[in-house]
Symmetry: C2
Subunit: 222 residues, 2 copies
Amino acid sequence: MQMGIEIHVPDGVVPWRMPRKRLTREESREQTRLRLLDAAAVAIAKKGLTATSVEDIAGQAGYTRGAFYSNFKSKTDLFIELLKRDHMSIQEDLQRLLDANLSSDDLQKQLALFYAQCYRDHTSYIVWAEARLHAVRDAKFRQRLNALCLEKRDTIAYFIAQFCKRLGMPVPDAAKDLALASMGLIDGVLYFNITMPNELPDAAAESVLSTIFSATFFGTQP
Amino acid sequence: MQMGIEIHVPDGVVPWRMPRKRLTREESREQTRLRLLDAAAVAIAKKGLTATSVEDIAGQAGYTRGAFYSNFKSKTDLFIELLKRDHMSIQEDLQRLLDANLSSDDLQKQLALFYAQCYRDHTSYIVWAEARLHAVRDAKFRQRLNALCLEKRDTIAYFIAQFCKRLGMPVPDAAKDLALASMGLIDGVLYFNITMPNELPDAAAESVLSTIFSATFFGTQP
DNA sequence: GCATTCAGATACAACTATGTATTAGAGTTC
DNA sequence: GAACTCTAATACATAGTTGTATCTGAATGC
């Protein structure tokens, strides 16, 4: 068995312990759903969407397949819910940045923050990579995923516009395309950062990102 | 069955037709290998590495599993050969660009050309995406893939250095990191270009790439 | 032209996955 | 506390995959 990139198990949510309070059916069901979702994220990050069986997910969560099928129509169904959940959390992070005091002097810090927050734990990076690949092959899925991506793009485009205004720079009229490119750039750089941390350690990744960002948006030379 | 992104079958190589000339054993074997490799690229692009069975590959190539196992140790084995073959072809393309008359005024054209050449046919884009994901999980594979990526990075870094010199610009000392970032950027942008061609058509993709490149390397404002 | 060799086909045994149909057991309601 | 209702476990039928072991027919060499 080959050793993969280290996967951090998100440990914040719904730990396994004898519930003090007897849960209502709804609560219990919701807990099961959450556990299944968390387990799926870990399992998919470890083995890949296709190689992860429903049994893997259920087992990892401490259930059997019965529980799975009683909560989700299919693996794809669960996968989409997983992405939506993650997307919402990212959107919230971005929104928080936008709503924060927009100190116009540290755009770079903000972007670096976003970069750092975005996929701090590799699990969700991998899950999204998995999703992109899946989207290439399944038109229906692609549509749904694109909707999420475009939502994120628009948030980032707005982010860009805000900062340009703050700084008295003209808002580039390809702001949306630039936002899309930023997303691509971050993902691309993150890949190298994750898979060859010696060649591109965190500091270098952040530095090259901020070089490119500031060059692109402020015309600052490296 | 969901419709995926259209896959162009590379039709240049070793078509199926009754051979005029009787092939020698070696030639015939080589032909089989090539057919299997081509078929694998198409099949993997269509269904993904894991979901593609050895049978799929062999069948697609017009053989049975027997032929496959008599030519490759395993699916992974074939996959690596496939990547190497593709890598070599990309390296040659890049080298050709480097060796061509380095007209210093149209760096952008050259880069656009590279971008266009790089993954003109989606098959190889997808195969590489598949590889990246696989690399995250398999340390041995990751090492081999990283070696290829770093080779490409160095070529691109050299490319960047050459052009900067030509133009009398200082060669950025993070040239290698910038090369890596360029690779990431191109892959990232290409993904959106492929999966949402309405949002990011070819022209927009090229334009945003050249905006970012020229800003980064020449400090040209958009 | 006959024996040899090797590419590729076929047969086989062990495993793994999927989805459904049924069942057990616990929560809810009155 | 008895009937009812859901969640999740279990059992089952089906089907797909892998690698190896064995066989066949065509190319080669003497």
